[in-house]
Amino acid sequence: MAPESQPMFDTDEIVLNMGPQHPSTHGVLRVVLRLDGERVVGSDVVIGYLHRGIEKLCENRDWTQIVLLTDRMDYVAAATNNVGYCQTVEKLMSIEVPRRARYLRTIMCELQRIASHCLWLGTHAMDIGAMTVFLYAFRERELILDLFEEYCGARLTYNSMRIGGLPLDIPPGWDKKVLAFCDIMDTKLVEYEQLLTHNRIWLERTKGVGVISAEEAVAIGLSGPPLRGSGVKHDIRKDEPYAAYDEMQFEVPVGEAGDTYDRYLVRIEEFRQSVKIIRQAIEGLPEGPITGKVPRLIKPPAGETYHAIESPKGELGYFIAADGKSTAPYRFRVRPPSFCNLQALPRLIQGHLVADVVALIGSVDVVLGEVDR
């Protein structure tokens, strides 16, 4: 729907193309808005600009080579993708992962959640005009990237997991550094809250914007913080515990009104819960091997399974079918949380103003690498 170009501005509907190249669409997302003045009358989300065909690629790669490709889907939380994939294959081959590896996986997932939420907070606040929070959030994210760089040598695409456990043990002193990071994070969270949570302008820009009820959120397939923001207490870490989450004590933050402000509060509380989990996991880190009994040439028996984990964006599910003979999965399917959360965008922005569309894209927190795969 290319915008029709009238010579002069007339007051009926105009079509505005937000994206695919736009400062606040967090990647190559195109939202075609039909506006009546400032109000959004209708919208259509156009995606697919970053489609690399990862699912098809994985169906032509070995089981171990696929870990690399899962890094590149949600590039903001790469370790979570790796954990999700490895656990699905371990479930297929019913491999028992040693306790130390499960603890380390939990720590990595929670560190990745904090890093992803830092990026969300920074860009979300920047879109609504609070520039300083962006710099603060990225300063903390740098600390996490350093931790990951020390562990697996990379800052973005970690390749940090292997089927059956971890490729290498954590360097000495790494756990001390993680604890140090947790202390810093607690003080910095107070800074974020001071800047935003009780800020009148922030309240005015986020309260009552993009309200969605619990039933509607479940029906349209929202998951993760957007779903919990509407009051649905569903967190896969609690409902279907994986890695070492069954041994961790933490609460699942839930909002009430289901507006942008509640989603913001849910994610800010998730920061704290993640720090709490990391502390418990580091203190209780058991000794022992870091990989289970894994055959040298990985060939899962014929069969298929669906395994979901709680990524920072929502329910990240892997549906993998093996045919028992070839060294590549027969069917490799990813249920990306950003894709399903983005589906709710037209419903959320209906009737709002252009400025709210920007706030809502930030509030739904999508990563286009995961949406387009």
Binding site: Q6, P7, M8, F9, D10, T11
Partner: protein
């Protein structure tokens, strides 16, 4: 005295030129810009007669307020392209011509009858703040109140007409 006279005529000429430009310019926005320039020239005229209060009010009310709304209207309303304007049948009617001739005639008569003598710029300028204030609130109080009520009615009417649930 002669320097006062020269400036008066210069500014006067400026006003007339701008007024003509307003009427003759093809593009509507250009004509509005000339209108703004015209009002500023009139304000300049008041300034040369050193009644600064009236000059600043002229800028504030006319140039800063009313013409901005003209510009709003012009920008929002769909423009006729230049070609349509030229061939618009209604422009070439006779009555328009007669009216213009009549007005011009009156001006000439007025100009000739009382010898051209520019109002001498007096020191205690009639346009000073105190004089205007005193006049406004003593001799012309009733018309002032009537005009303010009229404006109020106009505002309320405008709001009712543009009744979109704001």
């Amino acid at each position: 005295m002669t320097s006062g006279l020269i400036t008066f005529y210069a500014v006067g000429a400026l006003i007339v030129v701008f007024a003509l430009l307003v009427v003759t310019s093809r593009n509507t926005v250009h004509s509005i810009l000339y209108l703004v320039a015209d009002f500023l020239a009139v304000a300049l005229l008041y300034a040369t007669m050193n009644s600064m209060f009236v000059a600043t009010i002229q800028i504030l009310v006319y140039a800063g307020g009313i013409v901005v709304l003209y510009l709003f209207v012009v920008m929002l309303v769909k423009q006729k392209s230049e070609s349509e304007l030229a061939s618009d049948p209604r422009r070439r009617n006779v009555i328009g011509g007669i009216l213009v001739a009549a007005v011009l005639g009156e001006l000439v008569v007025l100009g000739v009858s009382n010898a051209i003598s520019p109002a001498a710029p007096s020191v205690n300028a009639p346009g000073g703040v105190e004089n205007v204030a005193m006049a406004l609130f003593t001799d012309y109080l009733i018309p002032f109140e009537v005009v303010s009520i009229l404006l109020l009615v106009a505002m309320v009417g405008a709001i009712i007409l543009a009744r979109r649930e704001i």
